[in-house]
């Protein structure tokens, strides 16, 4: 029967081509939009996790309230002992201290006078400890454009774009003018060891990375850090694991009467990323819903037009005694075949383009010039297991539902009228 149905569909292209094209287009759009949105959001989450939120982050309660201002006067103290406790109690996590700071980077001339100067955001990370994984987490080796990673104290990495703007060369002195933990002016000389391209506009515009010990000295923060970030060992974020961890930590450490007691937040509890993640799920569902509803309406309409075109054929078949139910089922089988073919074609095309964009991405650098979001300039799609089914099944359902609506007309045909109609 299926072979017979397929033959019919192939021979009468007007019966199959338009529905297949419609379903293909819908399935393609669903797969592509879902994969691209997934890729964008994953990138936003990963960039934030790498450079800002970690999978979990520990700050003082007071620091957390003003975290956007990088208030190092409210930073964590006694960081070494806290890290020791974390590393012994939560062994399946990678813990690392960080200091975020702002200031001016001043490049002196040979007389020590200012040659160039610009605002800078800095990140003090553990570059030299044997157990540190920061070079890998921040992907510094691959991001290196010129020079080398810091090998000794007071060496820094500077963003390539910023280095060009300041006209600073490898090995030259760069003076950080910032604020100490006490709010005094901090002036500290660093040496530029290399330039990096972060691929994130907000950081490429003006950022430096230094070893945390040097930053602690420069900002007068002995044994202090703005934050301690934690990553799961497999570097994959899982809200179901991280939320209980934060709860456990806060139960042990957080004190209502001490604004400097440590507070742990998961990635989804920071920078409204939880809302973003929820939004992706909502949008994913919405895309599917819109697809099914719109496609059903379009295919319903297409079925009605088809029904008109096949008015005579259906009339003859009914007049010859074919039961209405059998005819209705026949049309549904046809729609299942067109739906299957359309969904398969659309899904394959959507996956192909999504895979292509997963590897090449689209460079939005020009659009993101003034962006302060931690998101890559090159936005890539991401194909997941859902990408394979998110367009296919709605395509199939829409095709069948559209035909089911259109086919209801069969039951309205009166057998007594059929011959009169045929005579006409």
């Amino acid at each position: 029967m299926i072979r017979f149905l397929i033959k019919g569909l192939l021979r009468d292209r007007s019966r199959s081509l338009f529905p297949v094209l419609m379903v293909s287009a819908g399935a393609f759009l669903t797969v592509f939009l879902y994969s691209f949105m997934k890729g964008t959001m994953d990138d936003l989450v990963n960039s934030n996790a790498k450079f800002d939120t970690g999978h979990v982050k520990i700050m003082t309660r007071a620091y957390e309230q003003l975290a956007d201002q990088m208030p190092n006067d409210l930073a964590l103290l006694g960081v070494d002992s806290l890290l020791e406790r974390l590393r012994s109690s939560e062994k399946n996590m990678v813990w690392t201290p960080r200091i975020r700071f702002g200031g001016l980077l001043d490049i002196p001339d040979e007389r020590g006078e200012t040659r160039a100067q610009g605002p800078v955001m800095g990140l003090g990370v553990d570059l030299f400890s044997p157990e540190s994984q920061e070079v890998d987490i921040l992907n510094l080796q691959n991001a290196l454009v010129e020079g080398k990673l810091p090998q000794k104290n007071n060496e820094i990495l500077i963003s390539e774009e910023f280095a060009k703007k300041l006209g600073v060369k490898m090995g030259e002195t760069a003076t950080l003018i910032g604020s100490t933990m006490d709010g005094a002016m901090a002036i500290h000389n660093f040496k530029v060891s290399g330039t990096v391209r972060f691929g994130i506009t907000a950081m490429d515009r003006g950022a430096i990375i230094a070893d945390i010990k040097d930053v602690q000295y420069a900002l007068d923060m002995p044994d202090g850090a703005g934050e301690i970030v934690g990553y799961s060992e497999n570097m994959l974020y899982d809200d179901d694991t991280m939320l209980p961890l934060t709860q456990r930590f806060n139960d042990n450490f957080l004190r209502d009467d001490d604004e400097f007691s440590p507070l742990m937040l998961s990635l989804s509890q920071q920078n409204e990323l939880g809302e973003y993640l929820d939004l992706v799920d909502v949008f994913g569902g919405l895309i599917v819903l819109i697809f099914v509803v719109v496609m059903s309406i379009v295919l319903w309409n297409s079925g009605l037009i088809n029904g008109l075109r096949r008015y005579g054929e259906i009339g003859v078949r009914l007049a010859m005694g074919e039961p209405k139910g059998a005819l209705y089922r026949w049309m549904i089988y046809e729609s299942m075949i067109t739906g299957f073919i359309g969904s398969t074609l659309g899904t394959v095309l959507g996956l192909a383009i999504s895979y292509y964009l997963q590897y090449t991405g689209i460079d939005f650098a020009a659009v993101l010039q003034k962006s302060t979001m931690l998101i890559s300039n090159v936005i890539r799609a991401r194909v997941t297991g859902w990408s394979y089914v998110i367009g296919f099944f709605p395509g199939l359902i829409a095709s069948v539902v559209g035909t089911m609506f259109a086919g209801i007309g069969i039951y309205r045909r009166q057998t007594s009228q059929l011959f009169k109609e045929l005579e006409v």
Partner: protein
């Protein structure tokens, strides 16, 4: 009889007039008390932050209203740091980096050594009558001393504190309390003089507390350990070269 009443009223008015100097006169008296041809002082700043208290000591040379040079004597981290003000320019010197950096633009609003004072405060013309119009608005008693209450309004727009309110000791012409406001009327800083002393015929604040109301912490106590007026200061002190010496 009518003539007698007239004379009595006239005499009363004259007495009243004599008792109430204008705001401008009071402010000029305040300036005259403060400003000297030059001053050399050693001061201590106790900065009471949200989490800790720091104490810094500095030696300053000040010439008129335009030139000032400060060198920090302690603590060890700040020792040797210097600040030089020449008219409307300010440089700081950091011995650990051997860098002289000009402070300009938004950096002027930053805190001096983490205190409640900003570089802008340091740069301000100490002669208030040069930059403010003054109006006497009342009298109040501060810590047992009768004071004039002056409302000051800036003569120009581009100024850190557009309005100030001063409580000036009636007898010593020394402000005992001061409130500094932004143009929008928001209180920015408060100065309270807790102890005064007399040097070379001038009344001077010995201990005062600056409080940046937008900043957490208990404020910065500024203590004048010693002060000398009209001492000769070599001209090279007020040069950029002296920063690196």
């Amino acid at each position: 009889m009518i003539r007698l009443v007239f004379y009595i009223l006239l005499a009363s008015c004259s007495l009243l007039y004599a008792k109430e100097p204008s705001g401008k006169t009071i402010l000029e008296e305040v300036d005259a008390n403060y400003i000297a041809e030059n001053r050399k002082l050693i001061s201590t700043m106790v900065i009471k932050g949200r989490r800790s208290t720091r104490t810094l000591q500095a030696e300053s040379w000040i010439q008129g209203a335009d030139k000032a040079f400060t060198e920090y004597l302690s603590p060890a981290r700040e020792k040797g740091s210097k600040m030089l003000k020449l008219e409307d320019e300010l440089w700081i010197y950091s011995p650990s980096t051997d860098r002289t950096i000009k402070i300009a633009g938004h950096m002027l609003r930053r805190s001096v050594m983490g205190s409640d004072l900003s570089y802008e405060d340091y740069m301000e013309d100490p002669k208030l009558s040069n930059i403010y119009d003054s109006e006497l608005t009342g009298e109040e008693n501060i810590n047992g001393r009768d004071c004039y209450v002056l409302e000051l309004k800036a003569k120009k727009e581009d100024i850190a504190y557009y309005r100030r309110k001063l409580w000036v000791d009636k007898e010593r012409y020394l402000p005992l309390k001061e409130e500094l406001f932004a143009k929008a009327g928001k209180l920015l800083k408060r100065l309270t003089v807790n102890e005064v002393f007399r040097v070379d015929g001038r009344w001077y604040p010995k201990r005062m507390v600056f409080k940046d109301v937008l900043k957490s912490g208990a404020g910065t106590e500024f203590i004048i350990d010693s002060i000398e007026f009209d001492v000769p200061i070599p001209e090279y002190v007020f040069s950029k070269a002296s920063l690196r010496k």
